[in-house]
Subunit: 324 residues, 2 copies
């Protein structure tokens, strides 16, 4: 099965979700509606709704809660993107100006609050009490992630655990929740939903590590922002960390540019080049693969739902080889 086939199979559901997303963010406030509509149009792969839809095939995918879960997940994701752009001080996302760049930080805060409020509203429709609990825990951890992220900005004294916890909260948790919630919404047992949670968690970790690698190896055109943007914004991701742990010279250079972010572009480009060719990329790829293997292992132990399992396998494989 290819990724295109998976999207095709879920085409009808995904278009319902798209419509519901648009309906969710409609409001009589033109600025907010325009900001939210931009976010929806910017699109992305709707990976979270897709994961929820696929996970729901282990139960009864026709339940209305499944669509609600998928929409909720994407709304939470969108809201957290908007607030994250404030944290990261990002002016571009997927090559488009961010809400905070187009308007300002305050407006980005409200837009995020608004989209998030819409997600909460939708959650209130779920009958399943377990669903409420798992969602609210993830929301709490996402908010902790936001805060940790600023705390760790520009700090080169970080261990692997720090980084892994950060990307867990930034990315893996919501992917894990997507799988779990799709399962719960379709009436799966809690046990099965937990196993799918871990599948989502492992591919989420791999997904974010890959993102962090691509930030170094991608071209400005592919990334929609200059290479090494994470580091330039003070965000030390896995390649940087591996590089500074292994090479005191690189650590010195990294500390030097971080201590003076206004440093000339040449110094930045040099340090980004050094990290890229330090072997740290390969080590990062290795860790990413390890997470994917764990995800694949979970799939092989799942009960029979051939179509969904094959699709999830393809998604995991795609994450392992994606280049943008």
């Amino acid at each position: 099965m290819t990724l295109v086939q998976i999207y095709n199979q879920q085409k009808k559901n995904l278009s319902v979700i798209e419509k519901e997303l648009r309906r969710s963010v409609s409001s009589d406030h033109p600025m907010i509606e325009s900001a939210a509509a931009d976010l929806i149009k910017a699109g992305g792969k709707r990976i979270r709704p897709l994961l929820a839809l696929l996970a729901s095939e282990y139960g009864d995918p026709k339940r209305q809660d499944v669509i609600d879960a998928a929409v909720t997940l994407e709304l939470i994701h969108m809201a957290s993107l908007v607030h994250d752009d404030v944290v990261d001080n990002s002016d571009l996302r997927r090559g488009q100006p961010t809400v905070k760049a187009k308007w300002d930080n305050r407006f980005a805060m409200f837009t995020g609050d608004f989209i998030f409020a819409r997600a909460i509203e939708r959650i209130s429709h779920f009958e399943n009490a377990e669903a409420h609990r798992v969602i609210s825990k993830v929301i709490r951890d996402l908010s902790l992630g936001e805060i940790e992220q600023i705390k760790q900005l520009f700090h080169s004294e970080q261990n692997l655990r720090c980084y892994l916890l950060r990307i867990k909260r930034k990315t893996a948790l919501l992917m894990a929740l997507s799988c779990q919630l799709g399962a719960l919404a379709s009436g799966c047992t809690f046990m099965l939903s937990r196993r799918l949670y871990y599948f989502g968690y492992f591919i989420g970790m791999s997904f974010q590590i890959t993102d962090d690698i691509l930030d170094f190896t991608g071209s400005e055109k592919e990334l929609g922002k200059p290479a090494g943007s994470d580091l330039r914004n003070g965000n030390l991701t896995l390649p940087t960390l591996y590089a500074i742990w292994a090479n005191p010279e690189i650590r010195k250079k990294v500390d030097s540019v971080l201590s003076d972010p206004e440093k000339d572009d040449k110094a930045w480009r040099q340090v980004i080049h050094d990290i890229r060719f330090s072997g740290a990329i390969e080590r990062s790829e290795q860790l990413s693969r390890r997470y994917l293997e764990k995800a694949m292992k979970i799939l092989s132990d799942l009960p029979d739902s051939k179509r969904a399992t094959a699709a999830l396998k393809e998604i995991a494989a795609y994450i392992g080889k994606r280049r943008n």
Copy 2:
């Protein structure tokens, strides 16, 4: 019954709530914990928990959901205060530096997100599906309120409906929810919870109008900030609106200072003085009283719970005569 007696009667519950609030915002992040702890210490009257506790006396006030409801309400309130200080650009609240003043807007955003996430987490414990729905609607409307508020800043072309909707979202809704949720959590019928909702709504409207009046009539010491701060921040409240609707001279002056907020302090003080002695304060007081009368009317139609009814009456009366 006096206000002091009411607080005394509820002392035990309120101290449990206080402890739960502190527990709710504990985290292993020192900055966030310190910011949240400051907010809790700054205190305030805990009017929302108190309303929930009193409303619960129309049902079974011993249910655990009642305390959860009260804590949730105060957390939502605190979270929205933090985000509101970003909107209002306030550096002081109750004479203390705000989170955004002590740190910055970004940090205030995360602190708000974090406290709000804690509220969501607590909501997930409620068994009552109706409670989920009423809370989530209020959350949505609060977020709309945030956004509307910026839109209307510095705009003198506003009608009464605009203003009333704004203070409904800013204040009255959460007080209304407090009463309703206290009732639902204690097992009251939905009908009764709706009537208590309206009681909370009416006193909330009166409460906010009074606040807006005090911003003009209070001394800097009483307010913990300079008189006329709302207007100085571009927030046109009822006294200003009544004054500019009735007096074209005042409108001209208001438009002039609003168009140049850096105007010298003398011009600001003159216009604030003009509004104060234009008759607008008295008209505002009149509208505030009208809302209180509506609240009292609801109380007289409630089923018998002498203690709670007497207490709610006292609270309404207090709101009518408070001076800070």
